[in-house]
């Protein structure tokens, strides 16, 4: 099977998230300056926002572009990373159990995160973020059913 993409709606989730982080960083940069001069604080706030918000928007899109996954007989392969590229393969027989989780934002956009747990040391949990919720459930069921067949 060819590499598959996740749901584009996840870009919106990441954009909201990165914007929230940007606002937080801007506040914590500008906050201490508020006592000295309000103008300076506002200027710093705006400067941080002007840099970080577009960066966050670009990063969300880039992350989506880079993220792909493949499910075959051997298992699940996930490619991701904007700067540090990784290519993880989780053999099907190594999956101990799976989770499908959804945060409030993800629920709003109808996407979900599929978590694959292995008995490994470093990669005890491998996450695939941004699947459509139905797809995540279907994928989980597929992995589970194959697991049962394998035994």
């Amino acid at each position: 099977m060819l590499d598959q993409r996740v749901d584009p709606a996840t870009v919106s989730v990441w954009r909201v998230e990165t914007t929230a982080i940007a606002v937080f960083i801007a506040f914590s940069c500008a906050g201490p300056l508020l006592e000295d001069s309000i103008v300076l604080a506002v200027a710093v706030f705006c400067a941080v926002m002007v840099i970080s918000v577009p960066l966050g928007w670009w990063w969300s899109k880039a992350r989506y572009e880079r993220l792909s996954y493949r499910v075959d007989d051997l298992g699940v392969t996930i490619r991701e990373g904007v700067w540090w590229w990784t290519h993880k393969s989780v053999p099907r027989v190594r999956i101990q159990h799976t989770d499908v989780s959804q945060g409030p934002l993800q629920r709003r956009y109808g996407v979900a995160t599929l978590k694959l747990y292995t008995a490994g040391s470093r990669y005890t949990k491998v996450e695939l973020e941004g699947l459509r919720h139905e797809d995540a459930l279907a994928l989980r069921d597929r992995l589970l059913s194959k697991e049962a067949q394998g035994d």
């Binding site: 007989d73 051997l74 298992g75 392969t77 990373g81 700067w83 540090w84 590229w85 990784t86 290519h87 993880k88 393969s89 989780v90 053999p91 099907r92 027989v93 190594r94 292995t118 008995a119 490994g120 040391s121 470093r122 990669y123 005890t124 491998v126 394998g150 035994d151």
Partner: protein, 506 residues
């Protein structure tokens, strides 16, 4: 569960309450010590008596209502009366039954029994304490209940000693292994916490009077250097003696035996540990050889066990402890032992070692030289001095040597059945992972890697307790890395399908 009606009926050893008291006290040691310290100022600590009574009652309570038993499908443990907790651990899930015996345990002829499972530490049970016969019986019955294969072996139970370390070997271990440093660090830390350091500085000031210092200073450079050397030598000597002493305490009478189909190690002078290394659970073997090891022509061999627990709570419980196959053994002997521990791997073939990418040398060298330069420049700017530029001048040849050694001693090899990876020049490390133990394979390309069309490969296994034990092969040519990843992925999945028993085993 079919065990719903099963009622466990075995009880703890009559002296269990004593150890329960110790466990409670150990948990409460910080608040108790603080209370005793602050409370002692206003007279006798009468409040201690009710606390002691409560602890004693809790310990007796625990012993009185604790039951364990071997149910049809698993070990069942029932605790408490009002807050009742029944824990069931399936036989198939039990990985190890280890015993630990401190001096007190040995005086009373009892043992603390730890039942370990492959999960991160939750379903684990610590049975505190059982008589020796009861502990051995529990171990045998649990492993016998595991299935036909195990039962077959119990019939012809034979203990086969694979390695027995003599006292001389243990002393050698102490000389090589610098554990004395840990003791000193621990003692200093403790003394510092206890405020003894304040007292010490006062004592020191009184002992080394100004006249003595003045006289020493007047002796001239040579004497001063000699004194310093003597102090240094003394420190090294004391550290080594401490290391040897510690090694004797920990590893006295180390034996590795083969019992049925499993390996068992037991060691310790006062606290005697007995650990089972089930062959099915062994995930990887680590061979370490420091410079001192080479002087004595020895190596150290450890194994990783599934469920050995990289999780923090597991490490707190001391489950992250090192699983030695041989703390010290001659290289040839070590090879035989590893072959026993990893029966799936064919060690008769010569290993075909593969180098890193030919361009790895340049990258390692430039990276190291850049680091030296940054440090040198940083100092130069900070101190407004020229001498830090010497750092850069020295750093470049050092980087070249380092890179040459790094590239020369980092090698990997892929066999049909295992992946070998070794690295390090002064301290040489070798990891052997059977291919059917591979969990996740991760190919990573950093921005630098991409520039040189290289990649690094991480091979994750279960039970690699510390990050330094995990396999990461850096600076591979991208094509080589991809091929290697592909090969490992396929076998990790395929071999386990061929042997379904392994699925349960990992």
């Amino acid at each position: 569960m079919t065990d719903g009606t099963f009622e466990p009926d075995q009880r703890l050893h009559p002296t269990s309450w004593l150890f329960a008291v110790f466990a409670f006290v150990r948990q409460l040691i910080v608040p108790l010590a603080a209370a005793a310290f602050f409370g002692s100022r206003d007279g006798n600590p009468t409040w201690l008596w009710p606390v002691a009574a409560v602890i004693l009652a809790a310990a007796l309570w625990k012993q009185w209502f604790y039951r364990y038993g071997l149910g049809p499908t698993g070990l069942v443990i029932r605790e408490g009366l009002f807050f009742r907790n029944v824990r069931q651990i399936d036989y198939a899930r039990i990985e190890n039954i280890d015993t630990e015996r401190s001096l007190l345990h040995r005086l009373l002829g009892v043992a603390e029994v730890r039942v370990e499972t492959s999960t991160g530490g939750k379903a684990e049970a610590s049975i505190q304490v059982l008589g020796l016969a009861a502990a051995e019986e529990l171990r045998e019955r649990v492993f016998a209940a595991r299935g036909g294969e195990a039962r077959e072996h119990t019939a012809r139970k034979a203990e086969d000693v694979l390695l027995a370390m003599s006292t001389a070997e243990v002393v050698k271990f102490g000389l090589i292994d610098n554990r004395g440093l840990i003791v000193v660090a621990g003692v200093v830390g403790f003394l510092y916490e206890a405020g003894v350091m304040e007292v010490w500085s006062v004592v020191l000031r009184a002992a080394v009077s100004p006249e003595l210092m003045a006289r020493l200073i007047a002796r001239g450079m040579v004497i001063q250097i000699a004194l310093m050397l003597i102090v240094l030598l003394g420190a090294v000597l004391v550290l080594r003696v401490l290391s040897v002493a510690l090694a004797l305490f920990t590893f006295h009478g180390f034996t590795l035996t083969r019992v049925d189909n499993d390996l068992r190690t037991s060691y310790g002078l006062l606290t005697r540990l007995s650990l089972t290394l089930r062959l099915q659970r062994i995930q990887a073997a680590h061979v370490t050889q420091t410079l001192l090891h080479r002087v004595f022509d020895r190596v150290a061999v450890r194994v990783d066990l599934a469920g050995g627990g990289a999780s923090p709570e597991a490490q707190q419980q001391g489950r992250g402890r090192v699983r030695w196959l041989a703390p010290l053994a001659a290289p040839n002997r070590a090879r035989e032992l590893i072959a026993r521990a990893l029966p799936d791997v064919d060690f008769t073939r010569t290993t075909e070692w593969q180098p890193l990418s030919p361009r790895a040398y340049g990258r390692v060298m430039r990276k190291s030289a850049a680091l030296w330069s940054v440090v040198g420049l940083g100092f130069a700017v900070m101190l407004h001095a020229l001498w830090p530029f010497l750092l850069i001048a020295v750093g470049v040849p050092i980087s070249m040597c380092y890179a040459a050694m790094y590239v020369r001693y980092t090698r990997w090899a892929l066999q049909d059945d295992a992946l070998f990876f070794r690295r390090g020049w002064l301290t040489r490390k070798l990891v052997i992972v059977p291919r059917n133990r591979v969990q996740v394979v991760c190919l990573g390309e950093s921005p630098f890697d991409r520039r040189y069309r290289m990649a690094s490969l991480r091979v994750d296994t279960a039970g690699a307790a510390s990050p330094t034990d995990q396999i990461r092969i850096p600076y591979l040519d991208l094509e080589v890395a991809r091929e290697l990843a592909r090969a490992l992925e396929t076998t990790a999945a395929a071999q386990t399908k061929a042997a379904p028993a392994e699925v349960a085993g990992t």
